[in-house]
């Protein structure tokens, strides 16, 4: 994790009449390398060009250690690219991406705050009065189905409930862009599908730009408008870009039974499988895994 003084963060704004303004996030030649102990450098992500539209739900899928999370951290401004640039709503990103909300794979809610305080904090630090922030937080907790759990501390909630708190915590700030790093990874299969549906339901309101990283192809197809496939690391790159033409609104679990879903899955999986096998064979050297954990948030 790279430290950056938050005060130095640039404000991302829409460029005037710029066609790029229609893009929530654009990676332009973004290359990310990590320096390893001993002076060597590990190229995690090779020069990447990728754009996410302002109302687009894009999923990035790739084998473990391919640098998906690294790319996401670059979009969040938590990690500066070694070369290339990230544009957010048309403006070049330096520092933390203020327009984005980030849902992490691990538990990121503050254990010393109740569910309500955790959700309210994003507004409080922005200067909203405490009582008002708390009222809004309560409303958001109700939207994610946790209205009765506002006074609970994270350790008193289940893993799925903590994810819901995290989701409310991010969405209450009304970010234009939602970055998600395998957010439902640690949950069991049933909870994942319920959370997927909750996400789709909330997303349908405002259709924010979403960049959703996952290693689960089924989840990616069920949720996204576009599925991006990344190659196995090192120097991972985008090798596939598939439009998912399944009708919306979707049900994240029922859509998996439709014939079109199976066609898409078959098509994308044939491409992904080669990369997964490559990563699997390379993991004997452990370099991919080590670099992944170094790059993961």
């Amino acid at each position: 994790m790279h430290d950056r003084p938050a005060g130095a963060a640039a404000v991302a704004r829409r460029g005037d009449a710029d066609p790029a303004a229609q893009e929530a996030v654009r990676f332009r030649g973004v290359m990310i390398a990590f320096s390893l102990p001993g002076g060597a450098s590990y190229p995690a992500v090779a020069a990447t060009d990728l754009a996410v539209g302002t109302h687009e739900f894009v999923a990035i899928v790739g084998p473990t250690g391919c640098g998906k999370s690294t790319l996401l951290n670059a979009a969040a401004g938590l990690l500066a690219p070694s070369s290339g640039e990230v544009f957010v709503l048309g403006a070049r990103l330096t520092g933390i991406n203020r327009a984005a909300g980030y849902l992490f794979q691990q538990d990121a809610v503050m254990p010393w705050k109740t569910a309500r305080d955790n959700v309210a904090i994003g507004l409080e630090v922005a200067g909203v009065a405490r009582a008002q922030a708390a009222a809004k937080a309560q409303a958001w907790l109700e939207r994610v189905g946790l209205g009765a759990f506002a006074e609970r501390y994270p350790h008193q909630l289940s893993g799925g409930q903590r994810k819901r708190v995290g989701l409310a915590q991010v969405l209450i700030r009304a970010p234009k862009i939602l970055l998600m790093d395998e957010p439902f990874g640690p949950l069991d299969a049933q909870t994942r599908q319920i959370m997927g549906n909750l996400l789709l339901e909330l997303w349908a309101f405002e259709r924010k730009a979403v960049l959703f990283v996952t290693h689960d192809l089924e989840e990616a197809i069920a949720l996204a408008d576009r599925v991006i496939i990344m190659s196995a690391g090192p120097a991972a790159r985008v090798i596939g870009d598939h439009t998912i033409d399944l009708a919306r609104p979707r049900d994240a679990s029922e859509v998996r039974l439709s014939p079109r879903f199976h066609e898409l899955h078959k098509l994308i999986w044939s491409q992904l499988r080669t990369e997964v096998l490559k990563a699997y064979n390379a993991s004997g050297s452990d370099s991919a895994g080590a670099a992944y954990s170094a790059g993961g948030a």
Partner: protein
């Protein structure tokens, strides 16, 4: 009261009864030509109990008395020959020393722990010195403190501070350093400035580490006070024990120890109450650790 708890209490009481019983029999029932636990070395439980009762009932431990009305400012005086102190006053003095040592040590530990944890260069510079000081047995500092600060309460406070400071310092240092990277990144993404990160992330994390060592640091504050008194003073529990020891009054030493033990137990109970309120967000398994 459920049966499980009743059984536990019964077993706990049984241990006390067995120990005191063994002590009583050993010191009062002759075996062969002598006693298993001679009175001169071990006293007897009955004598010790009587002595504790006397200390509390009769009030003073000193023969010298003055007819002056009690002046509150003299309550904490440790060198007033005219003022026979009750055991309550001795307790109050030890408590005052302990609390002062705790507060000063904790504030200094928190401040320096934060400062060094957020400043890598500084912490690297001071690391060997802090390790050196921490490795030093603090009792050897007691005579120095007495030389510097006299026989009053401050030399005892200073000794307690050196004990408390390092416990709090290391815990706060650790607490700030080991804030989860994910929580920190999340807080940044939620729009927190450095100052807000301090208030909402670093501070609670460091405090939770500090409070998890509350039992240890409060205990050490009391130890500092008692050891300081023991080595040279005119008041306090350590002084009571030392005085009895000086006259080979084993009963007095044991009585002092009993009072000290109960005193520390009460304080530990209060700390547990404080801890339960402050660390309500912790999972029960982790909150119980010290």
């Amino acid at each position: 009261m459920n049966p499980q708890r009743f059984k536990l209490l019964f077993l706990q009481a049984l241990v006390a009864v067995l120990l005191v019983g063994f002590w009583h029999v050993g010191s009062t029932v002759p075996v062969g030509g002598g006693y298993l636990l001679p009175k001169f070395f071990f006293s007897t439980p009955a004598d010790v109990g009587l002595q504790v009762w006397k200390l509390f009932a009769e009030g003073t431990t000193q023969i010298v008395r003055c007819s002056d009305p009690i002046d509150p400012s003299r309550l904490l005086s440790t060198s007033d020959p005219c003022f026979g102190k009750t055991v309550w006053q001795h307790l109050l003095i030890t408590l005052t020393e302990g609390m002062l040592a705790f507060v000063i040590g904790a504030v200094a530990g928190v401040a320096l722990g934060f400062w060094l944890a957020r400043n890598r260069m500084l912490s690297a510079v001071f690391e060997p010195y802090i390790k050196m000081l921490n490795a030093l047995p603090r009792v050897v500092l007691a005579p120095i403190f007495m030389l510097w600060l006299g026989l009053g309460i401050w030399s005892k406070v200073a000794l307690g501070v050196t004990l408390v400071f390092f416990i709090v310092f290391f815990n706060v240092y650790q607490g700030v350093r080991e804030v989860s990277g994910v929580i920190l990144a999340n807080a940044r993404m939620l729009g927190m400035s450095e100052r807000q990160l301090f208030a909402h992330v670093y501070w609670p994390s460091a405090l939770s580490w500090m409070f998890s060592s509350l039992h240890t640091s409060v205990g050490f504050a009391i130890i500092g006070a008692v050891v300081g008194e023991y080595l040279g003073s005119a008041a306090g529990l350590g002084y009571l024990i030392n005085q009895a020891e000086g006259t080979f009054d084993t009963t007095g030493v044991f009585a002092g120890m009993v009072i000290l033990a109960v005193f520390v137990l009460v304080i530990d109970g209060l700390v547990t109450l404080v801890e339960k309120r402050l660390l309500v967000w912790r999972p029960p398994a982790a909150a119980g650790q010290t």
